[in-house]
């Protein structure tokens, strides 16, 4: 278990280093988010959006940004034929741990960009910051988990990302619905306790998907 985690960290650090050299995924998801928010802000002009619309928009941006970049971490291994090297040297679940951590960091970093943009460009007023941050963090955690597992299937199926959004959406729908609900509560000024149920759902969902992911990853990963 410990060796799984430490080897997972090795894969994670390798992916982080590769990402900083090419900046592919960072560019893809960052620019997607900025473009979308700018387009909405531009077309709205001075109009301010209601919390329920803002919450939905927030998660739509995160979802589609994730879809544009999170599969890359697996697809690159197959495109550059380095996947076999990983298969040869690393235990399968260590690879999953590494990719999972990488996607969490990537999507978490994206939120650090999106939240200020929402406040500045869309004039979002956050009623309760602790609740907002808790919802964002647990939503991103869940979203990165679902995407990572589906991304592995996508990369190995050889469809190279075209199907990623189509396949992730149904599985991520519980995450989206819960996160939007909780974010709306937070924007309207509800306390952290008011989001308690949503947080519970997100956490249990993440844990269940991750468990299934660990059980099945070897069947996906072996060719």
């Amino acid at each position: 278990m410990l060796s799984l985690l430490s080897k997972g960290l090795v894969v994670f650090r390798k992916d982080l280093r590769l990402e900083f050299r090419s900046l592919y995924a960072l560019n893809a998801i960052g620019l997607f988010a900025v473009t979308t928010i700018t387009a909405v802000s531009f077309s709205l002009g001075p109009v301010r959006l209601e919390p329920n619309i803002l919450a939905a928009l927030f998660w739509v941006v995160i979802f589609f940004s994730a879809m544009s970049g999170l599969a890359h971490v697996f697809i690159r291994e197959e495109e550059q034929d380095t996947g076999d090297m990983l298969r040869l040297v690393f235990p399968p679940n260590a690879v999953l741990v590494g990719k999972w951590l990488f996607n969490i960091v990537l999507l978490g970093g994206l939120c650090l960009l999106i939240i200020p943009l929402f406040v500045i460009m869309l004039g979002a007023e956050v009623g309760n910051w602790p609740a907002m941050l808790a919802m964002t963090a647990s939503g991103v955690f869940a979203m990165a988990t679902v995407s990572t597992v589906i991304a592995a299937i996508i990369a190995l199926s050889g469809s190279r990302g075209a199907l990623f959004a189509v396949m992730t959406f149904p599985v991520a729908l519980p995450v989206l619905m819960t996160a939007i609900h909780g974010t709306r509560v937070a924007l309207e000024g509800g306390q952290l306790a008011d989001c308690g149920n949503d947080l519970k759902v997100l956490f249990s969902f993440t844990i269940v998907i991750m468990t299934v992911g660990f059980l099945l990853f070897e069947t996906i990963w072996r060719k």
């Binding site: 597992v149 589906i150 299937i153 190995l156 199926s157 050889g158 469809s159 075209a162 199907l163 189509v166 396949m167 959406f169 149904p170 599985v171 729908l173 519980p174 619905m177 819960t178 609900h181 149920n197 759902v201 249990s204 969902f205 269940v208 998907i209 299934v212 992911g213 099945l216 069947t219 996906i220 060719k223």
Partner: protein, 227 residues
């Protein structure tokens, strides 16, 4: 094929009786009027769609434990039927909702759930169509079916908390009591049974088709290799 004849004749008689009973024998519920009778066809469709999903998920687990193509045929055929029945259930639901609520689609929890199932089936087929190697296709599709199966209970749990339901609850309400009267219940349960048998008959046919296609491919390729 004699076995098949037995299935066919049983289904023909049983479903004819169910249709007759739905229109002439079953009484109407107060709030729903004549459209009560929709229930005897629409609800079994939704049930069969759910049943297909469960069968596909179980067959997928079996396939990953033991990679026999038969399990994959069951999963694939069942998903195919699931897609058909989710479409039927949602279309007929929309026709009925248009009459009774004045709006064909309003994201009622049950509409949402059936829509969710439809999306999963669609994604499942999209995934399969992109992979050429049959073993790989079966394996990855099975993994996806299982992940979707795991997400399903969450979905069922979350949706009613977010959307209010207008959907009539004729069979089981919150206190767990059956609200249908005796005659309605008889027809309803007979129809459910008939549709379930119909599902297994259709599944059988589709599996026979998949087996035939498998045999044909095998034959063609062996002929090609022999040359």
């Amino acid at each position: 094929m004699r076995n098949g004849m037995w299935w066919k004749s049983f289904l023909a008689v049983w479903m004819s009786v169910v249709i007759w009973a739905a229109f002439y024998y079953a009484p109407r519920a107060k709030a729903l009027g004549e459209t009560t009778r929709v229930l005897f066809f629409h609800v079994p469709c939704a049930w069969v769609a759910t049943l297909s999903f469960i069968v596909a998920a179980i067959a997928s687990i079996l396939y990953l434990r033991n990679a026999r193509p038969q399990y994959d045929w069951v999963a694939y055929a069942s998903s195919h039927l699931g897609l058909l029945f989710t479409v039927l259930a949602s279309v007929t639901g929309a026709v009925w909702a248009n009459e009774i609520w004045g709006d064909p689609w309003n994201w009622d929890p049950r509409q949402t759930s059936i829509f969710f199932l439809m999306l999963i089936y669609a994604a499942y087929f999209a995934l399969r169509s992109g992979i050429e190697d049959p073993a790989k296709q079966a394996r990855l599709a099975a993994v996806y079916a299982i992940i979707a199966g795991v997400a399903m209970p969450f979905f069922m749990f979350i949706v009613p908390r977010i959307y209010e339901s207008l959907h009539p609850d004729p069979l089981i309400n919150e206190s767990g009591k059956v609200k249908m009267n005796g005659k309605m219940l008889q027809v309803f349960l007979s129809s459910m049974f008939g549709f379930t048998v119909l599902y297994f008959w259709m599944l059988r046919q589709k599996i026979a088709l998949l087996r035939g296609e498998f045999m044909l491919m095998k034959k063609l390729i062996q002929e090609g290799e022999a040359r």
